[in-house]
């Protein structure tokens, strides 16, 4: 339940803003000049705000579509990400957003049309090859769909731009918006997973692994392309058996031709983000694990990382062909 809605004065009369105001009539509405006045001040506590985040309605006037880090894609040559939303409904302890953002408030950029203009321009620039657009970097693509209507807006647009691919990355089982329409061959619904025991410890507020698998299988059965994201890989006791079971559950009933890709990424974090997260949760076992700092990044000690990734890779290749497996060497776990 949203109790506070901050809004930039310039979006006050936007249709989407007014729609939010009428959908949350009880919420206090507070105007601001720029969303950064509310979102950016120092001395905020992400952990406390996560208990009751407010919604900030804003307009993204800067660059809207960005190139993704090298070696992060799932087969495309021209890869971009865009963020219509900052922050996530869920509270995964490994998530880099806790270290990156000063606030846990949701910032929703409501100028979807302008995002679309920039996406189309980028797609046109590289029209000789498919371009990829990733939407789940700074948020979960589906978890707040009933509030944002993001997918509902963008899917019809992507249906008319077949040379552009959209990845919706999610841990949500809120897939109604997809079930209600014809599958699009250029949209991949990518679900993130860790083994159930890890999920229970680290993925707070996230639907169970079995519920996510069920949602993914349903979409695949309906004809949607799905992706599987094993990112971040988390070192744990009984690692091999837990990940083996997860992979069995994931691929057991999944129609092979509906699987677009599987990506694998180790737990890795910019050092500054990690320091902030460690300070927020000093009692968190994950942060007291066998981690090491390498240059500006914190990750598992090299031997552990290599061993765990190799292990996952060989287990995954029992189910999928190598062309469908991608390792995200720069991943940051979301």
């Amino acid at each position: 339940m949203i109790k506070n809605i901050y809004y930039e004065q310039k979006v006050e009369n936007h249709d989407r803003t007014q729609e939010f105001f009428s959908r949350f009539p009880q919420a206090a509405k507070i105007s601001c000049n720029h969303f950064k006045e509310v979102f950016n001040p120092s001395g905020q506590n992400f952990r406390l705000q996560k208990k009751n985040p407010s919604l900030i309605l804003a307009s993204q006037n800067g660059k809207k579509v960005h190139p993704i880090p090298a070696k992060y894609g799932v087969g495309g040559i021209s890869n971009f990400y865009f963020s219509h939303l900052f922050n996530c409904l869920y509270d995964c302890r490994y998530c880099f957003l806790q270290g990156m953002f000063p606030s846990a408030h949701y910032v929703l950029f409501i100028n979807y049309e302008e995002f679309w203009d920039d996406i189309r321009s980028k797609a046109d620039e590289v029209s000789n090859s498919p371009s990829w657009f990733f939407s789940g970097y700074d948020c979960d693509s589906l978890a707040l769909e009933s509030t944002t209507g993001f997918v509902d807006f963008f899917l019809p647009k992507f249906s008319k731009l077949p040379q552009a691919f959209l990845e919706l990355r999610t841990k949500s089982v809120n897939t109604r918006v997809l079930k209600n329409r014809e599958p699009l061959p250029n949209v991949i619904v990518a679900f993130s997973f860790t083994p159930e025991e890890i999920s229970r410890q680290l993925e707070h507020g996230v639907p169970s692994v079995s519920a996510r698998i069920k949602a993914m299988h349903q979409l695949a059965t309906l004809g949607w392309y799905v992706g599987i994201r094993i990112d971040p890989v988390i070192d744990c006791q009984e690692f091999e058996s837990r990940y083996a079971l997860l992979f069995h559950q994931l691929f057991d009933k999944l129609p092979e031709d509906s699987l677009h890709s599987v990506s694998l990424g180790a737990f890795r974090m910019p050092h500054g983000f990690f320091k902030k997260m460690d300070k927020l949760y000093p009692q968190e076992n994950l942060f007291a694990g066998k981690l090491s700092k390498n240059k500006n990044s914190v990750s598992y000690e090299p031997g552990i990382e290599t061993k765990r990734l190799d292990s996952c890779r060989s287990m995954l290749l029992e189910y999928i062909s190598p062309e469908k497996l991608f390792t995200c060497e720069m991943s940051q776990g979301k």
């Binding site: 507070i30 006045e37 001040p41 001395g43 905020q44 025991e197 988390i234 070192d235 009692q283």
Partner: protein, 270 residues
């Protein structure tokens, strides 16, 4: 919990209810306290509020604990009825451009409103806006040393278009605060609970303190030692085992090595 209150007549219900006693050592502001609460009577205006807040921040005897700060008082309002209590969710200053947006984490029944802190008593009641003379200065100082979620401003409307501020009597002010006292104190208690949640673990701090005294650790070794002890607490390792291990070590370097070796097997998620 720390209360910053401008007037004695605003403070009285809180002092009485919490049984705060006046601190008799010389202080620049009247301070009332018990084991868990402190209240300072700042006097009216921005400078007084800023100075009193700074004084409270600087005189805390529990520097390791995260603390909450609540400004309680009366305010004028352009829309709300008198005797309505509200939390300020946007605080402006009549002579400055900076705005504060205290993050609202606690679900309370209080109204939420914008609030403008004025240099002089305000007689123009703008719709939807509250008016006081301290909140912005209070917030400006408190937010330099405490996380913003734990700094809140809670006002009770004393004057509006229908009732001028000139008609306000001290007894009315006390009554306004009294009428909302249970909710004010519940709100304060919830702020305290949030503060405790992010406060450092005092047992861990104590253990770190004791461990540092065992050997002549260098500054960088102290950093490593503190971290190792913090991790050992994360994994529920026995305190006596840690101390014994450090005591048996022949040097600071060996102590750190031994601690590392001791903790290492636990460093994996269950």
């Amino acid at each position: 919990m720390n209360f910053i209150v401008a007037l004695s007549c605003e403070a009285k219900p809180i002092i009485d209810e919490l049984r705060l006693t006046k601190q008799f050592s010389p202080t620049p502001f009247p301070v009332f306290r018990n084991d868990f609460h402190r209240l300072v009577v700042s006097g009216i205006g921005k400078v007084a509020a800023a100075a009193a807040t700074g004084f409270l921040l600087g005189s805390s005897s529990r520097k390791q604990e995260v603390q909450a700060y609540l400004n309680v008082g009366i305010a004028g309002h352009g829309t709300l009825q008198t005797n309505t209590a509200f939390i300020a969710n946007c605080i402006s200053d009549d002579q400055g451009k900076a705005f504060f947006y205290p993050p609202q984490i606690i679900d309370s029944d209080f109204e939420l409103s914008r609030l403008c802190t004025c240099s002089n008593p305000n007689q123009k009641y703008e719709k939807g806006l509250g008016f006081d003379m301290e909140a912005h200065a209070f917030y400006s100082i408190a937010s330099r040393s405490t996380t913003r979620e734990l700094i809140q401003v809670l006002k009770v409307v004393s004057d509006n278009e229908g009732q001028s501020f000139e008609s306000i009597q001290p007894t009315m002010v006390t009554d306004y605060i009294c009428n909302h006292l249970p909710s004010i104190l519940t709100f304060a208690q919830e702020l305290d609970t949030l503060a405790k949640e992010i406060s450092p673990n005092l047992e861990t701090l104590d253990l770190q303190e004791r461990a540092r005294k065992i050997h002549p650790f260098s500054q960088s070794q102290i950093f490593q030692l503190d971290r190792l002890i913090s991790h050992s607490r994360t994994f529920d390792l026995e305190e006596k085992d840690l101390i014994e291990l450090i005591e048996k070590s022949n040097s600071p370097k060996e102590a750190i090595h031994n601690l590392n070796t001791f903790i290492d097997p636990a460093r994996i998620l269950s």
